[in-house]
């Protein structure tokens, strides 16, 4: 076993609740919803007309117009959250800096540049094959967010991308930590990004019956664990964490937010989109994360749930938490910030890891908003509607993806 430990030394985020970490966190603690009527395209023909969009993100402000033109929105968002995280960590590399080769990138994105995919298909069908942009493929591929930040910030170490749907950035963080532990890098910029609020992706999720249709009440649509929940709300955004080997961080006097101590995975092996009944697969991942961290279930003080607001996820995840945490589950705060941010899909794991880290730092856990009607199948303490002061020493976050990918991460102060 490696004795190298991995800590978090920088945070960055661009979310439906704000263009930076502080604004996003304050909005979460205030219980604000980022869900609105879809503004970026005409959703009037659709049965789903709501999403958690980022209305005021201008990529030109971050990377300049020429660079922004060549990137899909998901990569633009990742660029912006990564810039913030590196600044927060006090890190910048020149190309000829030997340290640059010890710094890498791990991105998670569920579906990458799907907006560009949709536009390019329209162009091809309407205007012909010779009008498709030469940048179409570089913009679409899910790893280009990682590619472009490695180019622009001179991160010349390992460069990887996970595409495990809604577990993608949780895998990115866990895998990045393992890369540091085994000595392949000292720093990993790790995070997730998604920008799938476009006609095709909303339609696709809508047709899989995964999305809330509460169009007349956007702010109340994402209601994890509430009896009347009717699906998730698609959200866009990005979050980046700077992961760093502990000794490296101490040597340069870096601000240390938290330590990543547990990474557990499992596979449902059951169904493409539905969870294994009773949440068995989710429970295996949580158990593996506790084992990896060397913790007992009773050591965990807070869980940021996957909590998507679908009927199937929230009851199965509740059952899984009961399986793993036993009696400790009764006094354990479990909240879903997707009630406010919507579901960032591949970006969710990184954003919700950030939530755990800020809960550790500030001794407060954000609420599950829109919690009104208890469901007998969802009987945990979901921190309903108001943030709560809690001394959090160890926090877990869950991420589960279509395909049966289950990931749990554990952080400690």
């Amino acid at each position: 076993m490696s004795d190298r430990r991995v800590v978090v030394t920088g945070l960055g985020a661009v979310t439906p609740l704000g263009l930076d970490v502080a604004t996003t966190w304050q909005a979460m603690l205030a219980g604000r919803s980022g869900v609105r009527e879809i503004a970026s395209f005409d959703a009037s023909p659709l049965a789903v007309r709501i999403a958690a969009e980022i209305p005021d993100f201008d990529p030109d402000d971050w990377m300049g117009r020429r660079a922004a033109m060549h990137l899909d929105r998901y990569a633009q968002l990742f660029w912006a959250s990564t810039k913030q995280a590196l600044d927060d960590a006090g890190l910048a590399f020149e190309e000829d800096d030997p340290q640059a080769q010890r710094a890498g990138v791990a991105l998670g994105s569920g579906i990458g540049g799907i907006m560009t995919f949709q536009e390019s298909m329209d162009t091809m069908r309407q205007r012909g094959h010779d009008r498709v942009s030469p940048y179409a493929i570089p913009r679409i591929i899910s790893n280009m967010g990682a590619g472009v930040v490695s180019i622009d910030f001179n991160l010349l170490g390992p460069n990887v991308c996970s595409v495990t749907a809604c577990a993608a950035s949780a895998n990115a963080l866990g895998d990045a930590a393992e890369i540091i532990k085994r000595g392949d890098a000292d720093i990993m910029v790790a995070g997730g990004a998604e920008a799938a609020v476009c006609e095709f992706a909303v339609t696709g999720f809508m047709q899989s019956r995964a999305l809330s249709r509460r169009n007349d009440d956007p702010a109340g649509a994402s209601r994890p664990f509430d009896k009347d929940r009717d699906g998730f709300v698609i959200g866009e955004g990005a979050a980046t964490l700077v992961l760093e080997e502990l000794g490296h961080a101490l040597a340069r006097g870096a601000n240390i937010y938290a330590e990543l101590i547990g990474y557990g995975m499992s596979s449902d092996g059951f169904h493409m989109t539905l969870p294994r009944p009773g949440g068995a697969g989710a429970a295996w991942a949580m158990k593996n994360a506790l084992g990896n961290a060397g913790l007992d279930a009773s050591d965990v003080d807070y869980i940021n749930a996957h909590g998507t607001s679908t009927q199937a996820n929230d009851s199965a995840e509740t059952a899984a938490i009961r399986t793993v945490f036993g009696d400790h589950a009764d006094g354990l705060p479990v909240s879903s910030t997707k009630s406010m941010t919507g579901h960032l899909l591949g970006g969710a794991g990184a954003l919700e890891s950030m939530v755990c880290i800020l809960a550790l730092r500030d001794g407060v856990v954000p609420p599950t908003i829109n919690y009104e009607i208890p469901d007998p199948e969802c009987d945990l303490d979901y921190v309903p509607n108001e943030a709560r002061q809690v001394r959090v020493r160890r926090a877990m976050t869950n991420s589960f993806g279509f395909g049966g990918h289950n990931v749990a991460l554990v952080f400690t102060a």
Binding site: R66, R131, S133, P134, Y135
Partner: protein
């Protein structure tokens, strides 16, 4: 179409479609060195020229262009000017 009009339109599309800073564009500027247009950008430029001027430019003729002025020459020739 007169040459000054073609020049003006070409500068506009370089700014609008390729995101190039208008101050760096002169007729002597080379695409690759001065304007940092890479191989993908050249394809994009070709498409923009065809769309803007309603002409058809084969790849091999596009590859022969190195400066903004030469692009104007090519468009003039295609337009029969």
């Amino acid at each position: 179409m007169e040459r000054p009009e073609i020049e003006k339109k070409l500068v506009e599309l370089l700014v609008d479609e390729l995101g190039i800073d208008s101050e760096s564009i002169t007729m002597d500027a080379t695409f690759e060195e001065d304007l940092e247009v890479d191989s993908l950008g050249v394809v994009e430029l070709l498409m923009a020229l065809e769309d803007t001027f309603g002409v058809k430019i084969p790849d091999e003729e596009a590859e022969a262009i190195s400066t903004v002025g030469e692009a104007v020459d090519l468009v003039m020739q295609k337009l029969g000017g």
